[in-house]
Structure formats: C-alpha cells, structure tokens
Point group: C2
Chain length 603, copies 2
C-alpha cells in the first residue's frame, strides 16, 4: 500500500506525556469514574484505550496522511469514491467499540466519559484529521438518534452505525442557508404511513456519501409543509441513503450525490452536495416532535463544536512536532554574538526567534487542549451531577463552548503558519508536511459556525443567559485558581496580571450593556468577534494558571517536565496575555466604524 512516501513528517504528532498530565494531574479526570454512570471504567482501562488509539493512529491514520491529500475523493457513477483505508478505519472503529464508546449501555455503548473519548479523538485527529471524522460524525449522528428518536429507530440504525457499517451525518446547510440556518427550505410532507416525503438540497455535508460504508444515515433539518417561518419551523428527520424494506433488505431512498467539493485541504474527507427526492421518493422519519429540530441539533452542537476546536489543536500539534524535530536537526547560522564564520553552524532551535516560534505553537496547543478536555469533563459532570452542581457545569460549558470552538480554530491558522516558517523555504514545498497542515486546518474557523457566529453566540446569548449566571460561575472557578497561584512566588505576578485583566473584562461587559441600551443591539454586537478573542486570551491564561498550580502542588512531577511547563507559562504571560490590552482598547471605544455606514464606501 502506498503511504506518505518521501514527505518529511517528523516522528511524532502529539505528546502523550503532556496529554496525560492534563487528564490525570490537572483535571484529575479519573475521579469521574466514581460516579455510577461511568463506574465501568478506571484510570487503567482508560490508559489502555488511549494506548489502543495511539497504536491504531500510527498504523491506520498517520501513514495515509499525505496520500489522502494527493488523491482526493471523486464522484464516480453517482457514488463518492474515497481512500480505501476508510473502510478499514470504520471496521476497526466498530470492532473495537470506539464508535459506540460514548453511547449508553442500553443501546450497546460503553458509557465512556467524554473527557477520555475526547482525548482519544485528539490523538486520531493529530494523526490524520480526515481519517478520523468518519467515526466522529457517526458518533454524533448516533447520539442524536439515541437522545431524541423513538426507541424503534435505535434498533434499526444504531447497531449498524456502531459496527462501522453505516455512516452518520448532520445535514443542515443549504445553498441559501449557511450561517442563517433559519432559512432552511428543504421540505417534508407527512404521508399517511407516518413517514415524510423529503425534497431539497443540502451542501457541504461532511462524509455525506462514500463507498467506505454500506449506507449513510443523514440527520437532516427540513421544514414540514405549513410550519412557521424561521427557526421555529424546523424539524429533524432520519433520512438514510438506503431505506430498509419490510423484509430487511435495502432499497434506494432517492438520495443522490450530485457533487463532491474539491477543497484546499482536509481532502481525505468527502464533502458532498446532496439532492433529496429528485424522483419524489425520498422518505424521512421524524425525530422527536415537529418544529423542534433545531433545538435537538443545538443540544448536540456543543460536542461538534468542541470537536472542531479540539481538531484545530490536534492538527497544530502535528505541525508543531514536525517543526520541532526540524528545528533540532537543521543547522543554520551561529549565535548572534558569534563573529567567527568558521565556527560550525548550530541547530536553529538555538536561535531566540525560533524558540519564540516554537513556544508560540506549544503554548497554544497545550493551553487549548487543556480547555477542550476541561469542556468535555464539564459535559461529563453535567451528565452525572444533579441540581445546582449540574447547572453549574452545564452553564459553564455553554459559556465556554464558543470560545473552545473558535479560539483554537483561529489560532491554529497562525500556529501551523508558524510551523511553516520554521521550515523556511522547505516549508512552502510539498516535500515537507507543514504546508498540508496549514491547508487542512483552515476549515476550522468556518465549519460548525464561523467565528463571527460564535462571537454573536458568546456576547449575544451566553454572557447574558440567566442574568449572567454562567459568567459569574466561571469567574468563581477562575478566581479560585488565581487565589492558589498567588500563594507561590513563581506564579504570583502572572495571577495578579490575569486578575487585573478579568476585572477589565467585567468593566467592559458592563460598558457594553450600556451600549446595548443606548445604541441598540447592532452596536452592542458589532465587535463580538473581538470580544470572543479577548475572552479566549483570558481563558487561555486561566488554563496556564491551572497547569502551573498543578506543577506547584503535585510533588510527583519531575523537574524537567515542570521546567517545560513553566517555560510555556512564562511565555504565555509575557507574549500572549498583552494582546488582551489591544482588544480591550478597541472594545471600549465608542467610535463605531462598522455600524450605520454606507457600505458603498467600502470599495
């Protein structure tokens, strides 16, 4: 089998030691197994699961990384042809129980805490993002069926999906309804037998068709004829490519692949343009109740959004480790103070600016991974806790989700670009892997809601929900960690700096409330994207405070490892936190610039 051939990949795409540190030292996530729901698992079984993921990633994902980029999916005779290893991936994912790992035991799942399946997904995404999305999307679609569809559909779909024989998708976007989901026009007409006739087109459907599976099950948003306009009239349907007849055999369900997108990266995953009901014979099965489709979808969105932030981070991790290896090997130049040209050249990692570029990547990657895993952990806690504790984790997760989705997505573009820069001219060539990562990760600020959409979500909804309770709860959490950090000389100054910035964020939020009242919602939200970025910078600072606290409090961590963490910690507060200042300055200004201007002036 052809593999990555002669492209420089480095030898490592993530760092297990750093991952374990976050899981078991910072989050102490294994304590979740004390709850009944997760009690089948232990730290040891989790480590075995991650070991198996690691091995699988090295055998089936990483070796096909370049090849998937070079030979992309094509629509052939009405079916999208994908790389043949995808069938193995789905089969093994099924055999190993990875596709059902999050599902409840009731439907044949393993009830794994999300924090650990997220860690597993991180490893796979670092090895080959295109290779791991087939499983991830199937898990998401299965989760929707389990959570909202009638029991009879569980039996019909879940076993096949969990086995990796059938693929799941989320079919939302249409040519006229991307960011504006309320404009979905695909129609569903109820039939006498209780099914619905579906007619419409969906675009940008990830893994929307492929010859790696025997069937594709779409969780599709459509509008039942006569439903109200906007978000209140959207329903969710199960729409399989092949529907099951009474005798258990499959027949075509009038779902047609009419195109596959050729993309700048992330090419291994087929993104389809689909037509439903071209011959007026496409049936859908309603999930839950009519007109509640969007609310179901949004209850699953946190998962998908965290997955995007996670994989932006995982791709950045792979780019980082490739550039780190190169920086240690490549000889070029001498110390800036060395005047003798006859001295041997030194590895570029010894140049201050290369160190800066490496620390920029690493500090982002570890901080973002810590955030993504914390969000997954909050999801687990919200599942098993009750009452106030449950609400607390739920609200904090809601608040952090737009940040966890978007901040790493935006930063990943810069981080992978920095990896290219370390390779110099080689980084621009196809002979080195960095350029592929740069192309792959560019999707992440777009899919599952653009960064702008998440800015609106954060400032327009999350910050204000329940009278600002989510922000208050999060602040309590952060201030607790800051208080700890103030106890240690090596973290005190940074804790104080973060505390000050948090105070300024709160002042800013108050100021913006005033803007909303005086100038209206458009002015209030006009720089929501920057507010999101500011929030992200501070949340990252918090992650580094938590990691530093762990180093200070846990006697078992070795000195070299602590040194590595404190170097990043120091980097973050010296180079990244100051960026908050620029954002605060702009956000506090009352000069609107983008509101109430004639758009023909932009020419």
């Amino acid at each position: 089998m052809q593999t990555n051939s002669s492209v420089f990949l480095g030898d490592k795409f993530y760092n297990r030691e750093h991952l374990n540190f976050i899981l078991f030292d910072v989050l102490k996530a294994e304590t979740i197994t004390q709850y009944d729901y997760f009690s089948d698992h232990t730290k040891e079984t989790v480590e075995m699961y991650l070991d198996a993921t690691d091995q699988f990633s090295k055998e089936y994902l990483f070796p096909h990384l370049v090849e998937m980029d070079r030979v992309q999916p094509e629509l052939v005779d009405g079916r999208i042809r994908v790389h043949r290893v995808h069938r193995d991936i789905m089969r093994i994912g099924g055999e190993n129980g990875w596709i059902s790992i999050l599902a409840s035991k009731e439907v044949g799942g393993m009830q794994m805490p999300s924090v650990f399946s997220t860690a597993s997904s991180y490893i796979m995404g670092a090895a080959n993002y295109s290779g791991c999305v087939f499983m991830g999307l199937t898990m998401g679609a299965a989760h929707l069926i389990e959570a909202f569809a009638d029991k009879k559909y569980h039996d019909l779909y879940l076993p096949k999906m969990f086995a990796g024989e059938w693929q799941g998708t989320m079919a939302l976007t249409e040519p006229g309804a991307g960011s504006s989901l309320s404009d979905v026009v695909t129609t569903a007409e109820k039939q006498d037998d209780g099914t619905y006739k579906i007619v419409g087109q969906k675009i940008f459907i990830s893994c929307g068709d492929s010859d790696a599976v025997d069937n594709v099950v779409h969780l599709l948003l459509a509008r039942v004829k006569g439903a109200p306009a906007g978000t209140k009239g959207i329903s969710m349907f199960i729409v399989p490519r092949e529907r099951m007849k009474e005798d258990g055999t499959l027949e075509h369900n009038d779902v047609t692949s009419i195109g596959v997108y050729h993309k700048m990266g992330y090419k291994g995953a087929p993104i389809a343009h689909l037509s439903f009901g071209e011959n007026n014979d496409c049936r859908g099965w309603l999930v839950g109740e009519e007109n509640k489709g969007l609310s179901y979808m949004f209850q699953m969105m946190n998962e998908a959004r965290i997955s995007v932030g996670l994989h932006a981070t995982s791709i950045s991790s792979a780019a980082y480790y490739a550039s780190l290896k190169y920086a240690n090997e490549r000889l070029q130049g001498r110390n800036i103070a060395e005047k003798n040209p006859e001295m041997p050249q030194i590895p570029i990692i010894q140049h201050a600016d290369v160190k800066r570029m490496l620390l920029f990547q690493k500090t982002f990657i570890d901080g973002a991974l810590c955030l993504e895993l914390q969000c997954a952990y909050y999801a687990d806690l919200a599942r098993v806790e009750t009452g106030e504790a449950q609400e607390k984790y739920h609200l904090m997760l809601e608040l952090l989700t737009p940040v966890a989705k978007s901040y790493p997505a935006e930063m990943s573009n810069l981080s992978t670009s920095t990896a290219i820069q370390i390779f110099g001219g080689y980084g621009f060539t196809k002979d080195f892997i960095a350029e592929q990562y740069y192309r792959e990760t560019r999707i992440h600020t777009i899919h599952e809601g653009t960064t702008a959409i998440h800015g609106l979500d954060l400032l327009g909804r999350k910050v204000m929900m329940k009278g600002g309770k989510a922000v208050m709860l999060l602040m309590q959490e952060v201030m607790g960690d800051i208080a700890k950090a103030k106890q240690h000389d090596n973290t005190k100054a940074q804790a104080v700096a973060l505390e000050k910035k948090l105070g300024q964020l709160q002042e800013l939020s108050m100021h913006l409330m005033g803007v909303a009242q005086k100038e209206g919602v458009e002015a209030y939200l006009s720089d929501a994207t920057l507010y999101l970025e500011l929030f992200g910078v501070l949340v990252m600072g918090w992650q580094w405070i938590k990691m530093a606290n762990t180093c200070n409090e846990n006697g078992n961590i070795d000195e070299q490892f602590k040194g590595s963490k404190f170097l990043c910690f120091n980097y973050y507060f010296e180079y990244e936190l100051p960026k908050a200042e620029a954002l605060l300055q702009r956000l506090k200004s009352t000069n609107r610039v983008t509101v109430g201007i004639d758009s023909t002036l932009i020419d």
Copy 2:
C-alpha cells in the same frame, strides 16, 4: 486556450483610482520627472504605461491565474516545462520595453522612475503573481549586470534579456546556506582565460530554468578558492545556462536542472534546484571584483525586498476585491435587530463583522501600497538628488526596507485568510479563488529573507546605522505629517495617538540600547521580530495620516472618495493601532523567556 474556467474570481483585482490617488495626490510622484534623469517622462506617458499594463494584465495574466495553479511546472528531459503563456509574457514584455524600463538609456533602457514601474508591477502581481515574476527577476539580474559588471557583458547579455529572450535569476541559496548566506560553498576556480570554473548546487532558484526562454542568466554567488570564510569571501558571477561561443552560437554551460519544487502555491513560477559543473565544465564570469559579491547583491536587495512586500499586497488586493464582490452579492441572514424571519435576506456586506473583515483587508492593502510606492519614490529621489538630500532618502529607504518587505508579507497571510472567511464554506473550496491567493502569498514571509532576518536587519543594523540618523530623519518626516494632521478636526485625535506611540517607540529603543549594554546582543535582538511588527504598525499609521492629510488639503478629491478613505483611516486607528500597545508591553519587559534557556525544555 483553457483559462480560469468556472472558478469565482470576481471582476477586479486592484483599484486604479486608489493607485492613482497614492501616486499623484499623496506622493505627487510626477514631480520626479522634473529631474533630468527622468525628464523623458510625464504624468501622461506614465498613465499610458499603466493603461498598457492594465490591458496586458487582463489579457495575458489574469486569465491564466487558475490554470497556472492546476498545471504546475515539471522537469521533463532536463528542462523545466512551464505554462506556455510565459513565452508570450516575456516576448510582449520585451517588445513593449517593460523589461528594460528601469535601465539607463545608455544600455537601451527607458529610465522610468521606479515609483511608476513599481505601480505597474503591482498591477501585474495582482493579476497573476506567478505570471509577472519572470520579467521582474530578469529586470533585477539585468540591473546587477548594468551596475557592477564590465561593459563588455552589457553588450553580451542585456539586449537578449531586455528582449525577453533570455531570463535572469539571482542564484544565492544552497542546501546549507539559506538564512545564513555567509555559508555559501559553491566554488569558483580562476582559469587562465580569466573565466572561473563553477562547481556547486543552488536551490530555490526562482525561474531558475524554463522552456519559456532561450537561455537563463544566473547571477550567482560563489567562493573563489582560497577566499576568506564568511561574507567577506563571496564573489558574484554571471553564469549562463548556455554560453556564447566565439562564433556567436550557444553551447551548453554545464548547468543542470536536477529538480523543480512542488509548492503549496505560487505554482506558475518554476523554482529550481540547479547543479553547476557536474561535468567540470561550467564557466562563470566575474562581476566586479572578487569577494565583493555580497555587497553587490545587497545593493540590489532593496528592490527585490520591496517587490516582495509589494506583491504580498497585490495578491491581497486581488483576494480583497473577490471577497468584496461576493459580500455585495451573497444574501445571508438579516440585520441582527430584525426579528422577522419572513423578511428577505440581506447582502452580507451589511453585517458589521463582514464590514470589519473587508476594512481590515482594504486598510492594510491601501496603507501597504502607499508604503511600497513611497519606498520606490525614495529610491528615485536618492538616485537624482545629491548631498544631504540624497543621503536622507537613501537612509530612510534603508530603514524602511525591512518593514516594507515584512509587514505586508505577514499581513497578507491574515488578509487573504480574511477573504476566505468572507466566502464562508465556499472559501475553502477550489470553486472560489480566495484559497489560491491564501496559498500563493504564504511564500512572502520566507523568500528574500524571512521575517526574523528582517527583524534583525532593522533592530540590529538599520536603527543604529550612522548613530541613529535614519530614524531621526524618518521621525522628522513623520512628525511633519502629524503636525499637518493636528490642524484638522477629523485627523487631530489620530495624529495625537500616533505621536504618543512614536514617543513610546523611542523610549523603547533607548531601553533596548540599555539591554544591549547590560545583557548583550542576543538579549537585545531576541524579540527583533516583534520590534519589526511594532515599527510596521506605526509606519502604517503614518501612511494613513498622509492619505488623510491629502484628502483634507486637496480640493479636487470627490466626497465619496474621501468618505472611503476616511472610513479606512478611522478603521486603522480604532482597530489596528491599538495592537502597538501589546507589542510595546512585551518589548519593554525584561523577562527574557527565549534567551539562555535549555532548548530541551521545548518538547
């Protein structure tokens, strides 16, 4: 002939009105034709030249933009095969006198002011960067021959190069000598006939070989046997692919193409890996004196570096105009305050965040173009002025060059990324042009010296040269413009803000001098890249002050045009200038982070 087929390109790749504003209103560059050397030209002839460039760009460059990306150069039977339009481009460039346009009349050139040929190059680069570099590199190589080589070589090479029959290159980089040029190991051994035998390999040679021309003339750096180590032992040679025999026919000069790089973008231009003297029969002709090669090369570097910044800007311009057209056409969503989902969707340009993204691009593009043209204009003034005035323009150009090269290169990555973002999901597909621009422009922070190299150049050499005289002269210039801006209500606050930041920059520079003395050169230069960025932010502010001053002072500019400029002006000072604050904060810190640390801690 196959062209761009079905890819969405928009209908405009630059804005001539804005270009003319900078040339004739802001810079008043036509006044240069009052000097003898440039007296053949007038504003009218310059406009005809730009008209011709525009027409040529629309006929020969823009139509092949996508095709050059899809069918890249290949090494076939020892020769690099390129897109066939390149031969037309070179032929027409020769026929129209564009390749010789900057050269002196003495060698058959047209003595065009550089500021106008730079404007022409901008238009071509916006239409198709890969398509215009053949001419640009030939101009640069010819300029080296004219300036430093013996007259007999003028007659031998320049007519063929000016006619577009022969291609010129700069052959500097080697496998072990990229950023560290002093490590060039290609050797030159003097022969009895006065020629030199050349042996070595050169990599990343732009247009280093192609079947679009009949010969390639390399301006090559090599080390004469016995020369001192380092930069002091590097000489420059003319090394043609085919050398001329006594009878005027050509014979092979033992220059072999051993590879063509496949790149992430900028694919239309062949980047070659060349071997010289594989059969011990490669001859070179010395340019000027032995061991002075690097100084010759560096005297030409300003041109090449300004060209990089210019083309980063031109690619960004093309991406911007594509995204602007889309933003005006694409309907999605409603005003954020509109609650009725039955209202029609609006063009996305009406959303505040889309306006912000468009203004981010446009403000960068117009500001950077203004800087590049100003630098070219300073080069013209340094050529025709004498005494103190000449020194002034020369020094300011030296100081601004690393900024003019790197700031637009770095910003272009963000600007083209923003163009993608405006297209949403479509921006990630090959059906829309934005992703190509994003890939093309990524080269610009790398070639002609990485951003880090230019940071070192600025802070390590330019700021301190002649006791800081360049900085002093530039500050005088800037303060003059600030003083004017303070006279008008609509620019006063911004002028004061910029003045304050310039004061902080000067304090910072003093602080850093102290660091150099106390901690040494490595600490002093450790954040030179950030210093360069800070300098860039302030220089852009100055460009916007100049443009605003022009609008305020020139009664002939129409109101809509002024409105467009002041919108960008306002955007710049609200959204971009605050970024200086974050950089200042870091640069003033005495916590080193990247100096004196064990690099194994970066893991």
